[in-house]
C-alpha cells in the first residue's frame, strides 16, 4: 500500500495550491486527479493535439493558471501526481481507494485535502433533457478546451456573472447569442457582482469588457427572465421564456418564444460533497448557496481530524477563494506535521484568512442575487424528468414529496430516484429543493441520498484488480 503525508483529491486550483504550499515546506504530497493534467475545470489544459496559437485569447484565467503551474513545477519533485485516478472510496484507517490504469489501489494518508469542485445546478423544466440543452460549464468546456461551438443560435439562461463570461467566450468563438436571461434582480450591480465573483478589481475590469462585447454584439441581457420550456423534435428548436417576480415565479401572460438551437443553463454551482460525506464529515445546509457544505474550521479542517476541504467543493466561491483556501490548508498540514517555524507561518495564515474574509464579504452580494428562489423549482410539469438516469418524472414523485414527514431517502427507495449512474448528483439537489419548497426542514446532514462507495462508476475489472495492494 502506498503512503502519503498529504493526499490531495482533485487537481483544480484548491488542490494544486494546497500541494504547492505543503510541498514547498518539504511535505511529500500525492495528488489524485481524475483528469489527464492538473488544472481542474477552471484551469483545464488543452488536450494533446491542440496547439494554442494565441494565448491572449484564452483570457485571464489562463494567465493565472500559467502562474500556478509554474509554482507547481518548482516543487514537483516532492509531488506524486497521479492523473486519471478515480477515487472511489474513503474508508476508515485513513485509506483512500482509487482506480487507475485498470487497477484498484489504496493509499494511506496522514492528512487529506478534498478539493472535489462543483458543477452547474440542475434545474428541471419541460424539455431540459432534450439534446441541445446543456450546462454553462459544459458549454464553456466545449468552447475553451474542445474548441467546438455546440450551436449557432444560443440562449443563455441562469443567474450571475459567470453567464457573461460564457457569453463572451461564445461570441468570441463566433456564436450568435439570442439573449442572456438573468433570473435575478441585478440592475446596476454587474460590476459589484464581477468583483464578488473574482474578489478583485482587475477581474472586474475584465467583466466590464465582457459586458462591452455582449452589447457590441447586440445581445440583450434580460433581467428577471427565466426559461420555462425547451421544445423540439429530438433537438432544441425553440425556447419559451417568461418574466419572473422577486421569488422567481413566472408572471403569467409574459411568455415569449425564441427560435434557438442551443440552450446553456447557468444557475450557479452546487458543491460535490460525495467525498466529504463518505468521509463522514459533518455538513450543514447553506441557504445562501442553496446546498450542503462541509463544516470547517478556520484552517479548512472538517469535523474529521486531518481531513481538510477546500475550494468550490466546500462552498462555491470561485478560483481565487479556492487558491487561498488551498494555501491555508497546506499551511495547516505543514503545521500538523511539525514542519513549520511557528511564528512566520502563523503570520501568513492570519493574512490569508483576512483575505478570505474579504472575499466572502464580496461574495455575499453574489449569493444574495443568485441564491435559488422557490420559483426555480416550480417549472417542472407532470412529465418533466427529475431523475435523468432512471427516467423518473415529477408525476411519480409528486404524491410522495407531499406526504407529511417524508424524507428524501424514502422517495429514493420508493421510486428509484437517485439510484442511477450519476449517484444522485443531478436529482439529489433537485429533490432537496423540492422538499424545501414544500416547507420541509432540511436536516443538518445531507442524509437525503446516501453515498456508498464506489462514489463514481468503476468497472468490476478495476475493483477486482486490487492484487498489488498487499
Amino acid at each position: 500500500m502506498e503512503k502519503a503525508e498529504l493526499a490531495i483529491i482533485g487537481g483544480g486550483p484548491g488542490g494544486i495550491s494546497a500541494a504547492v504550499e505543503a510541498a514547498g515546506s518539504g511535505v511529500n504530497v500525492t495528488i489524485l486527479d481524475e483528469n489527464a493534467r492538473i488544472g481542474g475545470q477552471i484551469f483545464r489544459q488543452l488536450e494533446k493535439g491542440f496547439t494554442l496559437t494565441n494565448p491572449e485569447a484564452m483570457g485571464r484565467d489562463y494567465q493565472k493558471s500559467v502562474d500556478l503551474f509554474r509554482q507547481f513545477k518548482k516543487v514537483a519533485s516532492r509531488i506524486n501526481y497521479l492523473n486519471h485516478a478515480t477515487v472511489w472510496g474513503i474508508f476508515d484507517d485513513h485509506r483512500i481507494a482509487y482506480g487507475r490504469n485498470g487497477k484498484s489501489k489504496t493509499i494511506e494518508y496522514k492528512n487529506l485535502v478534498i478539493a472535489s469542485g462543483a458543477y452547474d445546478r440542475p434545474v428541471p423544466f419541460p424539455g431540459w433533457t432534450l439534446p441541445g440543452v446543456l450546462t454553462a460549464g459544459g458549454a464553456q468546456n466545449l468552447v475553451k478546451n474542445q474548441r467546438i461551438l455546440p450551436g449557432k443560435k444560443i440562449l443563455l439562461a441562469g443567474t450571475g456573472p459567470l453567464q457573461l463570461v460564457v457569453a463572451h467566450q461564445l461570441i468570441q468563438a463566433g456564436a450568435d447569442i439570442a439573449a442572456i436571461l438573468e433570473v435575478g434582480d441585478v440592475k446596476g450591480m454587474w460590476l459589484k457582482l464581477m468583483q464578488g465573483m473574482w474578489g478583485n478589481w482587475g477581474y472586474a475590469g475584465d467583466g466590464l469588457r465582457y459586458v462591452q462585447t455582449i452589447h457590441k454584439a447586440g445581445v440583450p441581457i434580460m433581467q428577471n427572465h427565466i426559461i420555462t420550456r425547451a421544445n423540439g423534435n429530438q433537438h432544441v428548436e425553440e425556447a419559451v421564456i417568461a418574466r419572473v417576480d422577486k421569488d422567481w415565479r413566472v408572471i403569467h401572460g409574459t411568455q415569449k418564444s425564441l427560435k434557438v438551437d442551443t440552450v446553456c443553463l447557468g444557475y450557479g454551482l452546487v458543491t460535490s460533497t460525495e467525498l466529504t460525506r463518505l468521509a463522514q464529515c459533518d455538513h450543514t445546509y447553506d441557504s445562501g448557496l442553496g446546498g450542503y457544505v462541509p463544516v470547517r474550521s478556520e484552517t479548512m479542517e472538517t469535523s474529521q481530524k486531518g481531513i481538510f476541504a477546500v475550494g468550490d467543493g466546500a462552498g462555491v466561491a470561485g478560483s481565487q477563494v479556492a487558491l487561498t483556501e488551498g494555501q491555508i490548508a497546506g499551511i495547516a498540514v505543514v503545521q500538523a506535521l511539525g514542519r513549520a517555524s511557528g511564528a512566520e507561518q502563523k503570520k501568513t495564515l492570519a493574512g490569508l484568512q483576512k483575505k478570505l474574509a474579504r472575499h466572502h464579504r464580496l461574495r455575499q452580494v453574489l449569493d444574495d442575487i443568485s441564491r435559488p428562489r422557490p420559483g426555480l423549482y416550480e417549472l417542472a410539469e407532470d412529465e418533466t424528468i427529475i431523475c435523468r438516469c432512471e427516467d423518473i418524472t415529477f408525476k411519480q414523485i409528486k404524491p410522495l414529496i407531499q406526504k407529511e414527514g417524508i424524507k428524501a431517502k424514502d422517495i429514493k427507495r420508493r421510486t428509484r430516484v437517485g439510484m442511477g449512474s450519476c449517484g444522485g448528483r443531478m436529482c439529489g439537489p433537485i429533490l432537496i429543493e423540492l422538499l424545501r419548497n414544500l416547507g420541509m426542514q432540511v436536516s443538518k446532514q445531507p442524509d437525503g441520498l446516501n453515498v456508498r462507495p464506489p462514489v463514481k462508476p468503476v468497472s468490476l475489472g478495476v475493483l477486482a484488480g486490487a492484487g498489488d495492494n498487499q
Binding site: E34, Q41, L46, E47, K48, G49, F50, T51, L52, T53, N54, A57, M58, Y119, D120, P122, T129, L130, P131, G132, V133, L134, T135, G137, G138, A139, N141, L142, V143, Q146, R147, I148, L149, P150, G151, K152, K153, Q172, A173, G174, G232, N233, Q234, H235, V236, E237, D261, T262, S272, I385, R388, C389, E390, D391, G420, S421, C422, R425, M426, P457
Partner: protein, 94 residues
C-alpha cells in the same frame, strides 16, 4: 431539427485527424477530441436513448458528472462520450 455545432478555427491549431465509426457511419475526429465532440461536429447529438421513456439524450453537464453521454465503445457499454478521447477507428454505438 439538428443543431449547428461546428469546430472553432480561431486561436488553436489541430493535430492529426482520423476516422471513427459511429453507428456504422465514418466521421472525422481530431487528436485530442472526445467522442462527444467528434460526434457533435458531425451533427450527431443523440448519444443515448433514455431507459424508460426512450427519449433522446445528449451532452448535458459536459464535465463528466451527469452520465447522460454514455455510449458503447468497442463493445463496452456506458462509456462517457464527453470525457473519452476518440481514437482512430474506434467503434461507437449510440
Amino acid at each position: 431539427m439538428a443543431g449547428n455545432a461546428h469546430r472553432i478555427e480561431k486561436g488553436v491549431s489541430r493535430g492529426n485527424h482520423f476516422e471513427i465509426i459511429v453507428d456504422g457511419r465514418r466521421i472525422t475526429a481530431y487528436e485530442g477530441e472526445t467522442i462527444g465532440t467528434a460526434m457533435m461536429a458531425a451533427g450527431l447529438y443523440i448519444l443515448r436513448t433514455s431507459t424508460e421513456k426512450k427519449e433522446p439524450r445528449g451532452i448535458f453537464c459536459g464535465i463528466g458528472v451527469c452520465q447522460e453521454c454514455r455510449v458503447t465503445v468497442n463493445g463496452i457499454p456506458n462509456i462517457q462520450a464527453c470525457k473519452t478521447l476518440a481514437t482512430p477507428e474506434c467503434c461507437v454505438e449510440s
